[in-house]
């Protein structure tokens, strides 16, 4: 079975850990626990009848992506950049952050996503999606919306 390293990056409190926990364990907790260093989880997905091991590196939140220990990002096969839809500061510099990843990590696939779509008023999601066209997907770790699809999309991008 093939294994791929996926690193989840983004600001503090955007919901990186919640996203992974929703995907791997299908649970969500309102308690906020700060990730220190890095935490690693794994989930196997099936793409085109082939099983792939996704090794998910959950990094600690940083204001600037360059603050993440570079050694944690080495050998990454795909990045997921997470923003909080309710906090503009978390996606203000998204372009430069994505550029940094592209330049330093061999153009590996990157997905930029907006988390906490459950906080948006009902019926406003499609409007928000158009408004934030720089994001690939809007997800909700709390309600589970699009979480499975996000990781499957990433797995497909790796083949």
């Amino acid at each position: 079975m093939v294994s791929k390293k996926i690193v989840i990056v983004g600001h503090f409190g955007v919901g990186k850990t919640s996203l992974i926990r929703r995907f791997v364990e299908d649970i969500f907790s309102e308690d906020y626990k700060v990730t220190i260093g890095v935490h690693i989880l794994k989930k196997t997905v099936e793409i085109n009848d082939k099983e792939i091991n996704l090794i998910l590196w959950d990094t600690e939140g940083t204001d600037d992506i360059e603050e993440i220990r570079k050694a944690y990002l080495l050998g990454t096969h795909g990045f997921i950049f997470v923003c909080d839809l309710s906090r503009p500061i978390t996606y203000k510099n998204i372009e430069s952050q994505i550029d940094y990843l592209k330049t330093n990590f061999n153009n590996v696939p990157i997905l930029s996503i907006g988390n906490k779509s459950d906080l948006l008023p009902k019926g406003s999601i499609s409007g928000k999606k158009e408004e934030m066209s720089f994001l690939d997907m809007l997800v909700s770790a709390k309600e589970g919306n699009n979480v499975q699809r996000l990781f499957e999309k990433m797995a497909k991008m790796l083949f």
């Binding site: 390293k5 690693i40 794994k42 220990r69 050694a71 944690y72 080495l74 050998g75």
Partner: protein, 275 residues
């Protein structure tokens, strides 16, 4: 009405109220005196109040008294070490004694079982060695029981921490996650002391040691149990180097089944002996 009659009437009016009032006070005082004198009656009145106060006190005790108790205990332990040791010694001593006797029992059983296995090749070899060297068989067995043993071997890609191949004598928790975390720990330590430019070489936990030997594209993590000496460490390093040369020669780094077959062939037969 005469002056005397008027005066008598006025006295009656004034003194009747005062007398009634003083009589009622006197009655109340008598009742109180009775309560105080009779224990049961006093208890009936005061007990509910004391009980309520006690309940409040008990529920607030950890917050109110906790810090003072801890402080007092600490001081008491520091100031009267001998008394504390004397008090704890019988309890701890019994626990240690029980643990050691249990471990000795297991050791004796293992020694006896191995000694009874007379007709195995190892048994016959041991007997001959014992005759020629003069060292008793049981001593030789005890010495061998402490030998280091390779429990697990992981070949891990540098940087990504992806597990390329593994060998293990018993199942553990998820080896992919272990590989990732080992790589993260290695990266963290090496990053923290980057001025030295050295690799993290081993991690110790409980009775195990994990030895990390780095090569160009990957590193080999070997978990060893038992008594591991400097000499054995060198032997293991040389052995891992040999395995690495074989991996490179056969170009099987990206073929997990072939890599794991090689690891099984090589590590299953390795003997890390002090002799």
């Amino acid at each position: 009405m005469t002056e005397d009659e008027k005066l008598a009437l006025l006295k009656t009016i004034l003194l009747t109220d005062a007398r009634e009032h003083s009589e009622s006070i006197s009655l109340k005082i008598n009742a109180l005196e009775e309560i105080l004198r009779e224990k049961q009656k006093l208890s009936d009145k005061i007990s509910p109040i004391i009980r309520e106060e006690l309940e409040i006190f008990a529920s607030n005790m950890p917050e109110n008294l906790g810090p003072s108790i801890t402080k007092t205990l600490k001081r008491q332990v520091t100031e009267s070490k001998d008394e504390v040791v004397e008090a704890l010694f019988p309890i701890l001593g019994k626990m240690v004694k029980k643990y050691i006797s249990q471990e000795m029992k297991i050791l004796t059983e293992t020694v006896n079982k191995t000694a009874k296995d007379t007709f195995s090749v190892a048994g016959i070899k041991r007997k001959f060695t014992s005759i020629f060297t003069g060292v008793s068989e049981k001593e030789m067995i005890v010495s061998q029981l402490g030998d280091a043993q390779i429990e697990q071997v992981f070949v891990i890609e540098k940087g990504s921490g992806i597990l390329l191949g593994k060998f293990q004598i018993k199942e553990t928790v998820d080896e992919d996650m272990i590989s990732g975390m080992l790589t993260a720990i290695k990266a963290f330590v090496e990053d923290a002391f980057k001025e030295t430019g050295h690799d993290l070489q081993s991690i110790e936990y409980d009775l195990y040691e994990i030895h990390l030997h780095s090569f160009h594209k990957y590193y080999i993590a070997t978990a060893v149990s038992g008594t591991f000496t400097e000499t054995l460490e060198n032997d293991l390093e040389n052995f891992n180097l040999e395995v690495s040369q074989e991996i490179n020669k056969k170009e099987i780094l990206t073929s997990r089944p072939e890599l794991e077959k090689l690891l099984l062939d090589r590590y299953e037969t390795i003997k890390l002996s002090k002799q």
